[in-house]
Amino acid sequence: MAFGPYLLLALMEGLVKAAVLALTAVGLSLVFGVMRVVNVAHGAFFMLGAVLAWTVAQYVPGPPALAWMVAIVVAPLVVGTIAAATDTLVLKRLNYDPEATIVATIGLLYILEQAALSFFGPDARPVTAPFTLRLQLPWFGFSGYKLFVILATLLILLAVWWFMSRTKAGLVMRATQVDRQTARAFGINVDRVYAGVFALGAGLAAVAAVLLVPISQAHYLMGGDPLLLSFIVVIIGGLGSLRGTLVAALIIGLSDGVISMFWSPTLAKIIATAAVAMVLVFRPQGLFGARA
């Protein structure tokens, strides 16, 4: 294959990565933006979504499309419920102290990964795509499902944007983000908003995982990379900004796709991680807002 088509393939693969990454990162960004909580267990929620998709596929008979459709509804709901429970039982009691919440979510990460290992096993398991469609380009074939992932991501991100900027619930969330005390004074139930935001963030990670799992595989340790990359995206894109997150996810996803196709994926990760650490060191204000 010539260089041009090869690059095209790398870019298309990168676009799929960017889409899944954008969804995951928006969840993380939302939680950090509204609650000021750095959720280290975000990758574990992602993993849980993928594992649930596999589990659902085992119990739902009939065509793979049906199982997949059940999974895309059930997985985010279950993960969201777990997240809301975590918020109420653990994070709220810590008064959302930034350092304590990080330690607690690290603990949650271990608990979730271990639970997945115990109930799901150590093997990577495939999930059948809801449909198989192959687009034949002049140089190579490309999975239609991957294009669907990109499309679905765009729709979901649009929906999130509409929810945050056009609905009453979104307004309440944004008000809580700006000033927790004043929001409370205006009769907003901040506890419920926080539980809702935490559930929404985790749910988005689960949706991303269900979208990804037919292309990749479900594995109990699969949450590490999405977590690291989402952090990177959120830091580069700036806090709470949906557009920034999207742009950053595109940059990271595409460059990750290209670098890992031409060089080694490990090298791509080393470069991205070091670069972002440097961004945090030298431009902290653009990353975690005024509170750096």
Binding site: P98, G107, Y110, A277, R291
Partner: protein
């Protein structure tokens, strides 16, 4: 006086334990002491100076690989390699500190986490040289320290105890010194200590380098005493473990890291005999500690009963 008597008693107790305990537990104790040295280094940064790092595995790994690679590839003798590894830990801490200390709080945690991740991935990337995931085992001739054979249980225990004793003594001196009080001042009120004429950046950098010395020494000793080094010792998990030990034993206490490392080691050991899900225990311990006992065991004891405990 009381303080020194207590710590000498602890060291004596450990020495006696070696003679009384069956070899299996004596070996565990040696491991616990080395890990406790690592946790003491973490405690100097986190417990005394309030620097919550999520990347100490990089410093532990620097010590471990500094020593291990020198012994394995360059054929250096164990003792100089041990010193080189310790310096590698401090040097890496200085490097990380120069950059990471420009940030604070949550950013500091994430930056240190990312630097450690870069280190871990670099070890994997150069797996031909570092042994990557599989790691490298050191053989008996490479593990002779001053004529003592680290493949022998007894020699290994005394080496671990010697390292632990030196680390414990110097930590006690450190926290009771003038600099020790400056460390606490940084934790309690950085702005105020700046006003009093201390430069927080420089003070924190020194603290981090001392912390790196401890972590590096522990990593170097781990490689020599237990004869193996691999990438997993530089992974995120080894950044979390010292934090867990310190949280459990008591942040900002001299003996807390030893207590935390010992308790956690046996908790995990006990849990793995019941179930393979020992990480669940680690996770649950983290959540429970941070929820119900943020001061740790010795921290609570100090608050309630023994006010003089350092």
């Amino acid at each position: 006086m009381k303080v020194w008597a207590l710590h000498l008693a602890v060291l004596a107790g450990l020495a006696v334990a070696q003679m009384v305990l069956p070899p299996y537990h004596a070996n565990n104790l040696a491991r616990i002491m080395v890990l406790a040295v690592y946790a003491m280094g973490y405690n100097i940064a986190f417990g005394y100076a309030g620097l919550l790092s999520l990347g100490h595995a990089l410093l532990f790994g620097a010590g471990m690989y500094g020593t291990g690679l020198l012994v394995h590839h360059a054929g250096l003798a164990a003792l100089p390699a041990l010193i080189a590894g310790t310096c590698a830990g401090a040097g890496m801490a200085a490097l990380v500190g120069l950059l990471a200390l420009r940030t604070a709080g949550v950013s500091f945690m994430i930056v240190t986490l990312m630097f450690a991740q870069v280190g871990f991935l670099t070890i994997l990337y150069f797996n031909g040289f570092t042994g990557g995931d599989e790691g490298i085992a050191l053989n008996a001739p490479q593990r002779q320290i001053l004529g003592a054979d680290m493949t022998q249980d007894t020699a290994r225990f005394w080496a671990a105890l010697a390292l632990f004793g030196v680390a414990l003594g110097s930590k006690l001196l450190l926290v009771q010194s003038r600099f020790g009080r400056v460390m606490l001042a940084m934790r309690e009120n950085e702005e105020r200590s700046r006003m009093l004429g201390f430069n927080p950046y420089v003070v924190k950098l020194k603290i981090l380098v001392i912390s790196g010395l401890y972590a590096g020494a522990a990593g170097a000793a781990y490689a020599l005493l237990f004869g193996y080094f691999g990438a997993s010792f530089a992974s995120v998990q080894y950044s979390i473990l010292p934090m867990l030990y310190v949280l459990m034993g008591g942040a900002g206490t001299v003996l807390g890291p030893l207590l935390g490392a010992g308790l956690m080691f046996y908790l995990v050991d006990f849990a793995s005999s019941l179930t393979s899900a020992y990480l669940m225990v680690v996770g649950a311990a983290l959540v429970v500690l941070v929820l119900f006992a943020p001061k740790g065991i010795l921290g609570t004891i100090r608050e309630r009963w023994l006010k003089w405990l350092p």
